[in-house]
Amino acid sequence: MKKINYFSLAALLILSLCSFSYAQFPEEEPSRISIKPGIGFEYFSRTISWDDDEYSSNLKSYFFILNAEFEIQEGFSLNALAGYSFSNFDSLIFRELPFSVELDVGDMSGFLFGGEIKKSIFSIYDFEVEGLGQFVYYLGSKKEWDIPDLNVEGSVTGKPWWMRASAGPVITYTGFDYFYPYIYLSYNKLWGKFKMEQTIQELSGSEDKKITGKSVFSTSLGAIYEVFDALTLKAEANFMPYNKGLDFGVMLRAMYSF
């Protein structure tokens, strides 16, 4: 099966949208680029499936991010994200190693990179409709754990990554001053891999566990609050239903405008 480099794909998508955006408004006078640096926190709990959808468990992740939003034109912005994440893959079971193991190690730290692209599409009455695309890439640090209870020493080494990409319309109510509630409906895909290696004396093995988020559609309810001209707060809760349950997440961001 042909492999897809999702990271490159996401980058390409953003660049394409940028180009598209400029191509649509060539006659407009270029406006000054405004930059909004910010900080944020996000948490989500997603049901993930693995081993060809045979098993499932939860991926819980929270991350702290620094972001810089570049408003290139009125109604069009790019947002770069970088941060540090703690992701919990507990209950993931590796059955292809010589000794099967189940993760119960808590949070695994790692770096996080991402980006957002937002484009205003149209406004009607007190509503504004925008298109929003996001992606986040988590690269976990390599960690080693002892295998307990065997009569010889042994260890496993794990290294995870996951990626989340979403895209969809954001409908914002602009009828209030300083406070803008919105709803974001998106196609929201999460996938990744956990590579686990095992060494016990002469025994060794390796397993690449592919994980996929069960839910693929998300509904986010949020609000933007302008504390003062330069400072904006954003809060969001999202819900991701799947056939046997509901995943959820929350996000908080503070952004400062120059």
Partner: protein
């Protein structure tokens, strides 16, 4: 053509002179003590086991010989004739010949003489193997080996076991009960093909190397008992539970109704198992003597990634062969219902693991006790310990078919409970790495500790 004939003539003369020179050597040796080439058999300390010791070590008028692979069949035939021996059978895969020797020479002498021939890789007696247990009681009540709740071990008045002194089978069965494709070859006295707890578990009527036919029906009882422990039909409202619920049995008879066989039949059995789809070979038998031919057969099977499990023997002495072939066999000692090694279990550095072998309930042939009795009985011995490990290996193979024999053997070793660690911490010569623990090997281990 003429050159070939001259060459052949010279060859015959050469063989003749060569043989004659060894005749001299042989008679010289005969004047001296001859038997230094064979260590005397260590008599067993039989702990009241019904199956007592063997009177003979090898088949009296046979040897096993392997010629160098470069030798043509014609030259082999010529050599066999030159030594006045007669071919009985041959195992083509290993190129091992079973030869009938002349009556005027002993087995030791002939083996020695032929082994000096530069065209011969080795020549050795056709040693005897023997089973190490006979079921001696009837009743099915408890299988403490699989799950020990501290219950009474069977008939009234029998001892109680210690809680969880078992191989943790019930927990492991939550992970797997085995797959039908995985085959355990039981090389033994045969198997009762009609036993209600086995008839659906047998891949074929097997192979009988004692009577040279394709009906490995058990005429002793030992093989049926062994097969039942490994893979009796389970969850069928009768009888007992096998370790590997769903795995199949390939019955191979290499031991006669008295419980004796020879190395040649055993070697035939091992190669037959290797060539007929076995994933695990159970050898609840053994002999006192090493033999290159036996080692070759084990190597042949091992290189096909077949896990070979062998009983260490019940004499409280040295580990028997083939269990002592450490490179190819998982040598199994016996423990009891308290997780204590039984004192009749053989010991030595070759011991890999232990499993329950004291008062083990399993199947006996339907004819064994006579009409009106249930075809179940208790058995004692490392013969009973070994099939627990064979069933265990079959379960591992069921869930992880990509593992090699060496890897499966190591999983079994490393997951064992070191039940005698207070006296002998680590891998020791009594129970090896310890009493097997199926749960640790099959149920995913929770990883919690940071390195």
């Amino acid at each position: 053509m003429k050159t070939k004939k001259i060459f052949f003539l010279f060859f015959i003369i050469y063989i003749f002179i060569f043989s004659a020179s060894f005749q001299h050597h042989r008679f010289d040796r005969y004047k001296k003590p001859l038997y230094r080439f064979f260590r005397p058999r260590i008599q067993s300390i039989n702990k009241g086991l019904p199956f007592q010791l063997k009177e003979k070590q090898y088949v009296p008028d046979q040897i096993l010989i392997k010629f160098k692979p470069t030798l043509s069949e014609l030259l082999i035939e010529t050599t066999i004739a030159a030594y006045q021996t007669k071919k009985i059978k041959r195992i083509p895969k290993l190129n091992i010949y079973q030869l009938q020797i002349p009556k005027n020479i002993t087995v030791e002498e002939m083996a020695y003489v032929m082994s000096q021939n530069p065209d011969v890789e080795y020549a050795e007696p056709n040693y005897i193997v023997y089973i190490t247990e006979t079921p001696n009681d009837l009743y099915f009540k408890y299988q403490y080996a699989l799950y020990n709740s501290g219950q009474s071990i069977g008939i009234p008045g029998s001892p109680h076991g210690s809680e969880r002194a078992d191989i943790k089978a019930t927990a492991a069965w939550e992970e797997t009960k085995g797959k039908e494709e995985v085959i355990i070859a039981v090389i033994d006295t045969g198997v009762d093909l009609l036993h209600p707890d086995l008839e659906n578990k047998i891949v074929s009527s097997g192979r009988d190397f004692v009577n040279d036919d394709f009906d490995a029906t058990d005429d002793n009882g030992h093989g049926t008992h062994v097969a039942g422990i490994a893979a009796a039909e389970t969850n069928n409202n009768e009888g007992i539970a096998g370790v590997a619920w769903n795995c199949k049995i390939l019955p191979i008879k290499a031991v006669d109704e008295e419980g004796y066989g020879d190395y040649y039949s055993l070697i035939e059995g091992i190669t037959y198992a290797a060539d007929n789809g076995a994933d695990v070979i159970n050898l609840s038998l053994g002999g006192d003597m090493p033999a290159q031919s036996l080692e070759d057969a084990l190597k042949y099977a091992y290189e096909k990634d077949i896990v070979i499990v062998a009983a260490v023997g019940n004499e409280g002495g040295a580990v028997l062969f083939p269990a002592a072939y450490d490179d190819y066999c998982l040598a199994v000692a016996a423990t009891d219902y308290d997780d204590i090694r039984v004192d009749w279990s053989n010991f030595g550095p070759e011991v890999d693991v232990a499993a329950p072998g004291e008062r083990i309930i399993s199947l006996v042939p339907t004819w064994y006790w006579g009409q009106g009795s249930l075809p179940y009985g208790y058995g004692f011995g490392t013969s009973m310990a070994a099939p627990h490990v064979s069933g265990f290996a079959a379960l591992i193979k069921s869930v992880k078919p990509w593992l090699t024999a060496a890897e499966i053997m190591n999983i079994i070793r490393y997951s064992a409970d070191d039940t005698n660690k207070e006296d002998y911490p680590g891998n020791d010569e009594f129970i090896g790495y310890g009493r097997i623990n199926m749960e640790k090997a099959l149920v995913p281990i929770k990883i919690t500790t940071h390195k």
